[in-house]
């Protein structure tokens, strides 16, 4: 299974990856990151098909998808 890695302190909290994830595996975390925004977070035990939508829509280099 593919794996999403998120660098939380880079995230600006635009929420586009959460919006476009076809499996709804991403969410905004409840705590704030170094920038003071709620960063994207991969839900616990959620699935990833490796479609890369989150990587494609992320403007801030936060997301890597490893297969």
């Amino acid at each position: 299974m593919a794996k999403v890695k998120i660098e939380k302190d880079r995230c600006k909290g635009c929420e586009l990856c959460v919006f476009y994830c076809p499996l709804k595996s991403l969410e905004l975390s409840s705590d704030l990151n170094k920038r003071g925004v709620r960063a994207a977070n991969f839900k616990k035990d959620a699935k990833c098909s490796g479609c890369g939508f989150c990587f494609l829509i992320c403007a801030d280099r936060c997301i890597k998808v490893e297969k």
Partner: protein
């Protein structure tokens, strides 16, 4: 298997100054990806505009020059003519390319300079706080059109730069795409790649117009901004290859 979902080498490992939901970050990555894919990193010279992308040279790991507001294509012409073996591209906003720099844009295209141009259409002046751009939509509120752009007030209609350049003989490739959703990001990558390949094959002027969100100035959330592109902007600026 090659993993396509890792940041490209030509994109520096730094944080950008762009707002949350801004399209510039995605486009910087796409340009870097194309340059890595075509192996142009040691051959390419970029020309950055004045606008929000003015600091693009901090984010790309190849040679980048800066140009005065609107003059990126004129600077690029000079670079290309003196170093024809280099691959030269410009990266410009709509205020830069379509407003103050429209003369340079038209004449560079008309001369058929062998250049690649990435045109970021966000329907406003982002950096200076959200004034009207020539590409601003009818009814769109900006600081200089507080009641919405209205042709009856003498504010004109959205300027379709790609359609404007299409009849010129020197222009070899024109395409328009949007980066409001992942599918559009993929499509934009293909268009930009084609525009660079055209330059390698010495075909003449190529431009890719990209509809890009500016949530801060549009006063929308990033998701609303992406939806606004898909629902409103594409009606005025239809997507696809315009000339090939």
């Amino acid at each position: 298997m090659k993993n396509e979902f890792l940041p490209p080498k030509s994109l520096r490992d730094v944080n950008t100054h762009y707002c949350s939901g801004c399209g510039h970050g995605i486009l910087h990555r796409l340009v870097a990806q194309v340059i890595d894919e075509l192996g142009l990193r040691e051959r390419v010279i970029g020309v950055a505009p004045v606008g929000c992308a003015v600091l693009a040279y901090n984010y790309w790991d190849f040679d980048v020059s800066e140009a005065a507001h609107g003059r990126a294509l004129a600077v690029a012409t000079g670079i290309k003519r003196s170093r024809p073996e280099k691959i030269v591209f410009t990266y410009q906003g709509d205020g830069d390319l379509a407003s103050i720099g429209i003369a340079e844009t038209l004449h560079t295209a008309n001369r058929g300079e062998n250049l690649t141009c990435v045109f970021v259409n966000n329907a406003c002046y982002g950096m200076t706080g959200g004034q009207m751009a020539p590409t601003t939509m009818i009814g769109q509120k900006t600081t200089t059109t507080p009641w919405g752009r209205d042709p009856a007030f003498g504010e004109g209609w959205p300027l379709k730069v790609s359609e404007l350049l299409a009849p010129l003989k020197g222009v070899s490739y024109l395409a328009r795409s949007s980066i409001s959703k992942p599918q559009g990001v993929r499509q934009t990558y293909q268009y930009i790649k084609k525009a660079f390949i055209n330059q390698i094959e010495k075909k003449g002027f190529s431009m890719v117009e990209v509809l890009s969100p500016c949530p801060t100035i549009w006063k929308k959330t990033p998701i609303e901004a992406a939806k606004w592109i898909d629902q409103e902007m594409v009606k005025e600026f239809p997507l696809g290859v315009i000339k090939e």
